[in-house]
């Protein structure tokens, strides 16, 4: 079950980072609707990713019988997972409150955090895959 639920937040967070990056890279003078569209997609995917993370974390805790760290590949998985989970919740909360009222500087910091979270989740996913599929 964890193997299934965990892919939703991973994919959604990565998609969110890409949508937000696209909105940042769209030229200022291009159609405003395109930028707004990317930002709306980034907003929806980060919120859905955060909601999906509850299912992934819950099923993972049940699977590992409540182990928060463990050893070997499980420890490596958790060392990336917990910071990623905390950052995902923090970013989604920030985005929900700020929505479209933020400054350009604030959005740049958010975007950097979003990309870091996507990288942390990818690393957690890699070690999770090593744990389940490759021994």
């Amino acid at each position: 079950m964890h193997g299934g639920t965990t892919h939703f937040p991973i994919a959604l967070v990565m998609a969110s980072a890409l949508f937000d990056l696209a909105s940042f890279l769209v030229p200022e003078n291009s159609a405003r609707t395109r930028r707004a569209g990317f930002q709306a997609a980034g907003f929806c995917t980060i919120v859905l990713g955060a909601l999906g993370a509850f299912g992934a974390v819950g099923s993972g805790l049940v699977m590992s019988r409540g182990q928060l760290l463990g050893s070997g590949d499980l420890a490596r998985h958790h060392l990336f997972l917990w910071p990623a989970f905390a950052m995902l919740i923090g970013l989604a909360t920030w985005r929900l409150i700020v929505q479209n009222r933020g400054s350009a500087r604030g959005f740049k910091i958010y975007l950097a955090g979003s990309m870091l979270t996507a990288a942390l989740m990818a690393a957690a996913g890699y070690w999770g895959g090593e744990l389940l599929l490759n021994g």
């Binding site: 805790l61 463990g70 920030w94 985005r95």
Partner: protein
């Protein structure tokens, strides 16, 4: 206060609260904390009495910690996977299980551990006596 700063504070608080709730709930998912604690103290006592590992067995212990302990337990006395003390299986059988896994029960390690690694692992497993 600007909305972004407020949102950052709320975001940090939400992340910390949810991490706290998650970490606080996790002990309730553990099968039996008291039993595990008792088992741990027994293991510490038996580990102190056992001779120090050398050579292959020492390397096998390191491989075990990184690859097997999360299912078989740090002391190899079983957790999600079975107790590995006093194994009666042959080296060839253990090698096959480690490399090919057991469908639905244990992942295969053939792509991760080479023959020398599995030999070291078996050397460590042979040191595990009740």
């Amino acid at each position: 206060m600007r909305i972004e700063a407020k949102a950052a504070l709320f975001g940090t608080a939400a992340a910390l609260v949810l991490l706290g709730v998650t970490f606080g709930l996790s002990p309730f998912l553990q099968p039996s904390i008291a039993a595990a604690s008792k088992q741990r103290s027994t293991n510490i006592a038996s580990a102190a009495a056992s001779p120090a590992l050398e050579g292959e067995a020492k390397r096998g212990r390191s491989l075990f910690d990184r690859n097997c302990a999360h299912c078989h337990g740090d002391d190899a006395r079983g957790d999600e996977g079975p107790n590995l003390h006093d194994l009666t299986k042959t080296d060839a059988r253990i090698t096959r299980i480690v490399k090919e896994g057991i469908k639905g029960e244990m992942p295969r390690f053939g792509a991760k551990l080479n023959d020398a690694d599995v030999e070291a692992l078996i050397a460590y497993l042979r040191t595990l006596k009740s």
